[in-house]
């Protein structure tokens, strides 16, 4: 098995026929990767997530993705199970495109929707300028660097200036070989608009697997992006993500995250409100059971005056699972008249589960409105009784109540079929 070596970086880049600059980026990232120690709980960011059981060398890079050649993708993903019309659909297995459609309407609008490798080859100027330059940087951490060196697969979405994309886009990234390093880069140019749903999933494998992803969402002045990142990996997966959205003047980023799977997830999600009038909303939906461990670090950075951020992360926990949400609202000096909100609500379905909720504010301006809230609750027995008193069996009543907990956030996911699927997963996990 190939390990994470410099040789492997070169091999991967050569296999993908990459231009010089991308190989250079990978090699630089590899150096950073090598120079950084493995995160330990001594680091503030990693205090609540222990990686001692992680054996990175067991994974190695995903070079050719051949394992996916005759993969059986669940029907529901293949069909995308959605009655809503997506203007573009992409299915990848282990970073290799299996299917890609893009409507004539979107093509005519100049919307680019393809896998990341095609983008490197066909739109080098765009990609070179934006790939890990202003979104996530290779030196942000061990896993950002690992990703920079070994990224494989993922989606490139580009919406030109003034284009209101005629229909939503939808990617499904399926993992077969247990190692995936997907890169999502979305660029919404000035006064453009788009909706993109980005799904990650795998079956429940026997062997440990890894997802080391990066998501970069660049929303220019007066532009609007609705982005839903939905993760439903098998419980064998370790996940390490760096995700960043940037919003320009009067731009809007509506960012939904749903996390159902993995054995362990550590994700850094940052929203940068760079220019006055920028608006950003972050919605988190997660459900953990068994011994799942989910650690989400969010940041809402108000880098300019008159910016608004609104974060609500909701989790339901069962069994011996554990979640951590650590949220920070930051305001630079001079970021006056900002409005920042963050809230985390957890629904404890078992006494054995544990949820840590750590809000934080770092405000260096004085004319601001920043508030946070966190709450831990249980199923409301009055609510359950009310449902049962109408003939609904207890099990169904519990399911409805848990779904109800998530419903206001769920409504922010663009496709009805996908919402139903996530609800279905929640019901399945409730058991």
């Amino acid at each position: 098995m190939t390990n994470f070596t410099k040789e492997a970086v070169k091999q991967l880049s050569a296999y993908l026929n990459e231009p010089e600059w991308m190989l250079a980026l990978r090699l630089e990232a590899f150096d950073v990767y090598e120079s950084l120690p493995m995160p330990t709980p001594q680091l503030e960011d990693w205090r609540r997530t222990d990686l001692r059981r992680l054996k990175l060398d067991d994974f190695g890079p995903s070079v050719n993705g051949d394992a996916g050649a005759d993969a059986t993708i669940p029907d529901y993903l293949g069909k995308q199970l959605t009655t809503d019309e997506a203007g573009g659909n992409m299915l990848q297995v282990d970073g290799v495109v299996k299917a890609l459609t893009l409507s004539d309407g979107l093509k005519a609008q100049g919307v680019i929707f393809c896998d990341m490798h095609t983008a490197v080859a066909q739109y080098p100027d765009l990609v070179q300028k934006h790939f890990m330059t202003e979104g996530v940087r290779i030196d942000e951490g061990k896993f950002a660097a690992l990703h920079g060196a070994f990224w494989r697969g993922g989606t490139f979405l580009y919406v030109p200036k003034n284009v209101k994309a005629a229909a939503p886009l939808h990617s499904v990234l399926w993992v077969e070989n247990g190692k995936t390093f997907t890169h999502t880069l979305v660029i919404v140019e000035e006064s453009a608009e788009v909706i993109f749903m980005d799904e990650y999933a795998s079956a429940n494998g026997q062997q440990a697997g890894i997802h080391n992803g990066v998501i970069e969402l660049l929303v220019r002045d007066n532009a609007s992006l609705i982005y839903a990142g939905l993760q439903d990996f098998g419980a064998n997966m370790w996940q390490f993500n760096h995700e960043r959205g940037r919003v320009g003047r009067d731009g809007k980023l509506d960012w939904v995250t749903s996390m159902m799977g993995t054995r362990l997830t550590k994700a850094f999600q940052t929203m940068e409100l760079d220019r006055p009038g920028a608006w950003g909303r972050m919605s988190g939906i997660f459900f953990t059971n068994g011994r799942q461990h989910l650690d989400l670090d969010t940041q809402q950075n108000h880098n300019a005056e008159d910016t608004t951020s609104d974060l609500l992360y909701k989790g339901a926990l069962k069994d011996k699972s554990r979640t951590v949400w650590q949220g920070m609202i930051k305001a630079l000096p001079g970021s006056q008249r900002i409005d920042g909100f963050q809230a985390n609500r957890n629904l404890m379905l078992d006494k054995t589960a544990r949820a840590d909720s750590i809000p934080g504010l770092e405000i260096e301006a004085d004319d601001v409105r920043c508030t946070h809230a966190s709450a831990i609750g249980k199923l409301d027995p009055e609510e359950l009784f009310y449902l049962m008193s109408r003939g609904i069996p207890r099990k169904t009543a519990v399911e409805m109540s848990v779904q109800g907990f998530f419903d206001p956030l769920m409504r922010r996911i663009p496709f009805e079929g996908v919402r139903e699927r996530i609800f279905g997963r929640i019901v399945e996990k409730l058991g």
Partner: protein, 260 residues
């Protein structure tokens, strides 16, 4: 075949506190009973105990519903067997729309009959919902709202009766459905209940403080509860007597000092 709800010497406690102290009452399908009594006398406690609320502990006595031991049944089984309680204070169910909830009440019934049942079709459900909402003068936009969340007092009461109209019970308990309803709504809702009464030959136990609702839903029997017991039963004129004289004469007669 008509169904009956027979309550025999029912005692119930909340925590350690005995509230019901020996209730006897027989309600048959097609009969209308009114239950009156001062605040805190135990009317809602009786209703909750019959519906199977887990905080209400039946400590003695028996309740037979359609030949079965009601107190042994889960709340959902009681409902599916045809017993309905319109709550005095309905709970809110955030995140669950009224439409989704009502559809589930129907589907749970169908699936209890036949586990393979895939539920009522969406068009059929829409028709049914529209019809029932129109009957009760409920704006259709309520279908998409979360159940009881932010509903006004009167809106909640209407929606209770909408649920009753949807599940079509055999015996219904209406706990102060009249309180909170404006004068027009009281008429519309009462007429809706009476329609069900006629169509389903429903049995009813109407808990109220006031004569007004009894002008629309005319009871065959009136019972008065005092301190956890039914102390007096009679015909419709009993309500009129209460309206005029209050409860003092009863308290005196049964030697009960005012508590609330």
């Amino acid at each position: 075949m008509t169904i009956a709800l027979e309550i025999k010497n029912l005692h119930a406690s909340i925590g350690e506190q005995p509230i019901l102290k020996g209730i006897n009452l027989l309600i048959k399908q097609g009969e209308i009973h009114a239950l009156m009594g001062p605040n805190g006398s135990g009317k809602s406690t009786l209703a909750y105990t019959l519906a199977g609320h887990p905080a209400y502990d039946p400590t003695a006595g028996q309740v037979i519903y359609d030949g079965q031991d009601l107190l042994e049944m889960e709340p959902d089984e009681r409902s599916r067997a045809g017993l309905f309680l319109a709550f005095q204070y309905p709970a809110a169910v955030p995140g669950v729309t009224l439409a989704k909830f009502l559809r589930q009440t129907i589907n749970s019934r169908r699936q209890a009959e036949n586990p393979e049942d895939s539920g009522i079709s969406i068009p059929a459900f829409r028709r049914l919902l529209k019809e029932k909402m129109d009957m009760l003068g409920i704006d259709h936009k309520f279908a998409g709202r979360y159940l009881n969340e932010g509903f006004s007092g009167g809106e909640k009461k209407r929606v209770e009766i909408l649920q009753m109209a949807t599940v079509e019970p055999k015996i219904a308990i209406m706990d102060e459905t009249d309180s909170g309803l404006d004068i027009d709504a009281l008429r519309v809702v009462s007429e809706g209940a009476m329609r069900l009464y006629r169509e389903m030959n429903m049995g009813m136990l109407v808990i109220t403080h006031y004569q007004r609702i009894l002008n629309y839903i005319q009871p065959d029997y009136i019972h008065i509860m005092l301190d956890g017991r039914i102390v007096e039963s009679g015909g419709p004129d009993l309500a009129l007597k209460l309206e005029e004289e209050g409860y003092d004469w009863l308290r005196e007669k049964y030697g009960i000092t005012e508590t609330a």
